[in-house]
């Protein structure tokens, strides 16, 4: 269900951006979502298509790419990837089920992920936010971060 809030966030920010740039129609929005949030694409698209009605995004389509985070331990300098902490993440998912904390708040990642080498929580995660990668407007592509 959290996908509805995410869709609203995406739409709000593109609507604002379109307003600032005096654009009246958006064709496509491409967003990148951290893979460890386990957001469900079907629900996100359904929410997007429902909420876009009556806005400048009415005729737009949503494209989603998943991005895998890279972790860096600030305690020992070790860098590691999602696969190396998948076990930890799955435990958290089993404990919480649908209301999995990183599904709701990806910024919490360092609180749930320990460095596999030294066990520290002082872990930098990048990228961890849902970002808008690209917006297509009337045939031209504008990119924004």
């Amino acid at each position: 269900m959290h996908e509805w809030s995410v869709a609203e966030g995406i739409l709000r920010s593109v609507i604002e951006w379109a307003k600032e740039n005096n654009l009246d129609s958006v064709r496509k929005v491409k967003v990148a979502i951290p893979s460890f949030t386990f957001l469900e694409l079907d629900i996100l698209k359904e929410a997007y298509d429902t909420l876009k009605r009556g806005t400048v995004l009415e005729k737009s389509s949503l494209e989603v790419v998943y991005k895998d985070p890279l972790f860096k331990c600030r305690n020992c300098g070790n860098t590691f990837n999602l696969n190396q902490v998948l076990g930890e993440l799955n435990e958290v998912r089993e404990e919480f089920g649908e209301e999995y904390p990183l599904h709701l708040v990806p910024g919490l990642a360092p609180a749930f992920i320990k460095c596999p080498k030294c066990g520290s929580n002082d872990v930098e995660v990048s990228p961890q936010d849902i970002t808008i990668e690209e917006v297509e407007v009337n045939g031209t592509a504008g990119s924004s971060g």
């Binding site: 509805w4 809030s5 966030g9 593109v14 709701l104 910024g107 609180a111 970002t131 808008i132």
Partner: protein, 251 residues
């Protein structure tokens, strides 16, 4: 263009936003936040958002430990006490400790705001100090600050930094002096020090001042603060009156 920020702004626009702050910890800020939001909720749909994401005191005050927020199409559903909804990171991580780098705390606070289903009045319980939480709120909305201190000189001196900052930002907070006195058969005893110094400071900054007494009975209401109807709650009602309802923040 940031989806999280855009959504957080939307959630706060056309709402009355109150931020309960202190430069110092241990002054009873969370109790004041809880009682103030309860007070507002007697007439309006109010949401208390606990931004003190490391202590999550509101979870303890309202007896919500171990409970998890539901999520629906409108977002994170607050725990409800009549017209008051309470949002806490505790409802997302249960009783797990939360240790986070600074850059992430801002992100987590912004997520709580962005993804919550909120009422007309929003009360933020801020962590002590002058950090990201203050800057984030300033960035997102025009809020009314409530500054909490105790009468001790150290506390007031520390709080003065915050008052000076708020003044520079064009804000005029209400100053709440918590644990200001103890009622001994009609006589006021002041175990944390006299009011002279606080009064000087409040005059210097032109602030309204509310004194809240010590009520040992509050201890019995930890875990069910919404049932507390004692003397501190009626004093905090004065803060509600000072803050008033409109004008709503516009942004």
């Amino acid at each position: 263009m940031e989806p999280l920020e855009a959504l957080a702004r939307t959630k706060l626009s056309n709402k009355r936003v109150i931020a309960v702050m202190s430069a110092k910890g241990g002054v009873g800020k969370s109790i004041i936040s809880a009682l103030l939001s309860l007070s507002f909720s007697s007439s309006r749909q109010t949401t208390l958002i606990d931004l003190d994401i490391h202590t999550m005191a509101s979870t303890k005050l309202f007896g919500l430990e171990g409970k998890v927020h539901e999520v629906n199409k409108k977002g994170i559903v607050p725990f409800s006490f009549g017209k008051l909804g309470v949002i806490s990171l505790g409802g997302i991580v249960k009783d797990r400790y939360v240790v986070l780098p600074g850059s992430n705390t801002r992100d987590v606070m912004q997520s709580l705001i962005a993804y919550s289903d909120v009422g007309e009045i929003i009360v933020f319980d801020l962590p002590p100090g002058l950090g990201d939480e203050v800057l984030l709120l300033e960035h997102l909305t025009d809020f009314t600050p409530i500054v909490v201190t105790i009468p001790s000189k150290v506390s007031v001196k520390v709080v003065e930094y915050l008052l000076r900052y708020l003044k520079e930002r064009g804000k005029r907070p209400v100053l709440v002096v918590n644990m200001a006195y103890f009622d001994c058969n009609g006589k006021k005893a002041r175990p944390f020090g006299g009011m002279d110094y606080v009064k000087n400071v409040s005059e210097k900054y032109g602030l309204s001042l509310v004194e809240a007494p010590i009520d040992p009975e509050i201890e019995d209401y930890i875990g069910r603060i919404h049932e507390y109807n004692g003397v501190v709650r009626s004093k905090i009602k004065e803060v509600e009156n000072l803050v008033g309802f409109p004008p709503y923040s516009s942004s």
